[in-house]
Symmetry: C2
Subunit: 507 residues, 2 copies
């Protein structure tokens, strides 16, 4: 078991993104509750009725067994489960309100729940894009570079979430290479796909090579997407059961495009979301009471003219806020998303939709904000430039949520008197002593004025971000990994890669 000390990347002039301490923001204010208590209760009650009367499909025999043993109404032919509230609510009550998620560097452990916020990168993208090469199928080299960026900038608290699919590696071996790359290049929490039973089994085996006996200690995990409406498929249930049994983390997250996977009204979409989440959370607790599990929300409208998802809209902002209220109602940690956009390029649309995701997510009291860096193209593409633009927003939220001091020193009445009306404060002792650290240090914003900006090439923010990610990669140093552990991981990957050749796995 290798534990390493935190090492900072070497200092780089002009890259404040590399100087952020690893620290989870703690919002000082209560979450911004959108619904009244009565309206929240209506959604809660509607979701219980859905599970009792309509029911929900679990396309996996072991899951059906678990429900049957627990006393739910199980129709084995239809693979449909109806769950009374008297079964559901006590079952979810064993889920923990917070837990510590271990990284191989203990300084990079992440607390989920209890008031601390964590930001994670985008996950599951098929394509990679940058301004130099445009959009292309993702490769292992792209994934490794995204791991390096995620490791380097402590605006992100997670490093490994398949920021892009390595399409140059066979499906049967991708998960092995992903996990090994993550341990080689990062020492933050490593997530790995909850797809079926084989991938989680390999993941857990590799985790044990790094951490030793897990003993229910959460070190990995993944999203469990519900196939809305009201269906968990075999792939996701294999992952849910495998990870929950090992005490690893599941984020139960319905993928609801309101108008397609749920009714078009947000009240119904949220009631359905809540029913789906609660059923999944309950199943984790039937597998292993106390297993760490997160209430996930990803409800957003479908663009009914295009048939495509719409991100960063007023409706998704409501969903983000109400999701937080629902999660708190059940004492569950809450997972949301930041940085979502349909845009094909790191432009003003991308920025607008991303902040229309991120502001509501932060206000919602979200514990874990995923997809917070790099997402483009409705989730099909990770953009290196967007990644950097997003990191700056995350860093700004980290700074913002720390708040500012109000004491005699900060109120500075002496300095105000010393300068007096009509003077200026640039040269005072009070300013001189504080100016280097007084304000959030931007990496990307250009404030030099029109003529200087034109003379310097007239770059937009995406072009500057292109320079930044290259500089960050140049400054990257891998965190130390115990050579014995590295070798054990290599051996495991090589052995399993042979065994799994031509095996059809969920990708």
């Amino acid at each position: 078991m290798a534990r390493t000390r935190s090492r900072r990347p070497r200092p780089t002039v002009g890259l404040p993104l590399l100087d952020i301490p690893f620290r989870q923001p703690r919002p000082p204010r209560p979450p911004y509750d959108w619904l009244s208590a009565d309206d929240l209760e209506r959604i809660h009650t509607a979701s219980l009725e859905i599970l009792e009367t309509v029911g929900i499909d679990f396309l996996d025999d072991e899951a059906l067994d678990l429900w049957q043993r627990a006393g739910a109404h199980v129709d084995r032919t239809a693979r449909r489960v109806r769950i009374d509230r008297d079964l559901l609510l006590p079952t979810i009550a064993t889920a923990p309100a917070s837990f510590r998620w271990r990284a191989r560097n203990p300084a990079h452990d992440v607390v989920i729940g209890g008031g601390a916020l964590a930001f994670g990168p985008c996950g599951g993208m098929a394509y990679a894009a940058d301004l130099d090469r445009g959009r292309r199928p993702g490769t292992m080299a792209d994934y490794e570079n995204l791991l390096r960026l995620s490791q380097s900038c402590h605006a992100l608290h997670f490093a490994a979430w398949e920021q892009v699919t390595a399409q140059d590696v066979p499906v049967s071996a991708r998960h092995l290479h992903r996990v090994r790359a993550a341990f080689r290049l990062t020492d933050k929490v490593v997530m790995e796909a909850a797809h079926g039973r084989v991938i989680p089994a390999d993941t857990l085996a590799m985790m044990r090579l790094v951490y030793g006996d897990l003993d229910g200690d959460p070190v990995t995990g993944d999203v469990i997407n519900v196939n809305s409406p009201l269906r968990y498929d075999e792939r996701m249930l294999g992952g849910l059961i495998s990870y929950a049994r090992a005490g690893q983390v599941t984020f139960i997250t319905p993928f609801i495009l309101a108008g397609a996977m749920s009714p078009v009204t947000m009240a119904a979409a949220l009631a359905q979301q809540n029913a789906e989440v609660l059923a999944g959370v309950a199943l984790t607790q039937l597998v292993r009471p106390g297993a760490p599990v997160i209430y996930g929300g990803f409800t957003t409208p479908i663009d009914l003219r295009r048939g495509s998802p719409a991100f960063g809209t007023p409706e998704s902002a409501w969903a983000a806020l109400v999701g937080g209220q629902l999660a708190r109602r059940y004492g569950l940690p809450y997972r949301g998303s930041g940085g979502l956009t349909s845009s094909q390029t790191a432009d003003a649309q991308a920025a607008n939709e991303s902040l229309w995701s991120l502001w509501p997510a932060v206000l919602a009291g979200t514990d874990l904000i995923m997809h917070a860096a790099g997402w483009l193209d409705g989730g099909l593409t990770v953009s290196f430039e967007k990644f950097i633009l997003d990191l700056e927003n995350l860093a700004m939220f980290g700074h913002f949520l720390n708040g500012f001091t109000i004491d005699d020193d900060a109120l500075a009445l002496d300095a105000i008197a010393e300068v007096g009306p009509g003077g200026h404060h640039l040269g005072t002792d009070h300013t001189q002593a504080r100016y280097r650290t007084a304000f959030f240090p931007t990496t990307l914003a250009d404030r030099q004025g029109h003529d200087a900006w034109l003379a310097a090439g007239g770059q937009d923010a995406a072009q500057r971000a292109n320079t930044v990610w290259k500089a960050m990669l140049a400054a990257y140093e891998p965190p130390p990994l115990d050579p014995g552990t590295a070798e054990a991981l290599d051996d495991y990957v090589a052995g399993r890669e042979r065994e799994l050749t031509n095996v059809r796995l969920y990708d």
Copy 2:
């Protein structure tokens, strides 16, 4: 006096920005208070101490007379006034908590304070820019086009705030042409510069041609910028006194770049801001008790490497939130800003900084959010593309703040049961009956997917905004103006233009 009926621009396919009803959003949730009551009180107390011990300069004899008569400590040589809290606090107490600001079309009256939000465009820009012609000195033609856009889109509740300076009109006549253009092209509230005594006198004369005897009824007004630290100059005091005496609106707004015009610490910057605002508000009430006046905040950091303002930062977000708390403490309406950015182009930086202005402004319970459309280049330039990008954000906030319905119809348990697990909701009666109006209708967002986007030209959001503002101008129709009133305005402008030739006015 001409009052006209509201006329909508003719319907234009694909421009939902033209279909917004004129309605001020009413945030359904309480403002997001950033400071504890104790910390807020420390800032309040510090600001009172500043006014009592350091004092504040009023570079205008009439203002000094007013303070002297009220019983303040006035040093006529230094033109400095020290104001005891026992004088200050009762004096500001006569300011109204809310008021109705009249437009020449009563359907476009704006309520300031009392829970209704109003958005206004940018003001005071020297340059205009668009993607076709780049940046150039502003002209009357630019200003007129910006009036047309502001009139057409009811995401904005004001139309006329000198969105750009008409540099092709002599300084001595600009205000006359501005006001006339505003009445010709819009029927929303018309603001006009509070610069000195001549411009407000002309403005009030022209307002009487349109509205008849004003009788203290607010129909115009402007920002009063404090020359921070702690100085009101002759230009601003002439405007303040002129408008307050006529019962017109003043927004008392210190222009504080923390680190230059105030200490670098945000606690001190906000204490100084509060002292400056309260002194100006008190002066309006000495001029005319009950005069409508707005607490304005514009405090933001200076970028200490560049010596330039920094907009849309975590610090300005704190300032926006705390400014709202302070205004509420005194029962005053609150003016903030949205859409601020240093960027030179309508890119991701512009979008990010703008939403880092706009989200805090909305959360702060701001009554009046100015600079909410068009601002670029640190306030030097209005961009036509940025104008459209901002309008979309304002429209989204209007939609968002309306909230969504939770009732049996919206919870749609029947539709959920009808579709059942694994189905889809696209074709249900419930969806079909609602899909046209279910979601916020975007004008700008591209969601067609990568290949279709590329095939359509691969435009970014700014390029699409370029198409939109041209389409909006093409669809524009002027609101009717009584011909007699139009002639009276023409006569006034012609007469005063001759009288003021070669007169040096504040521009």
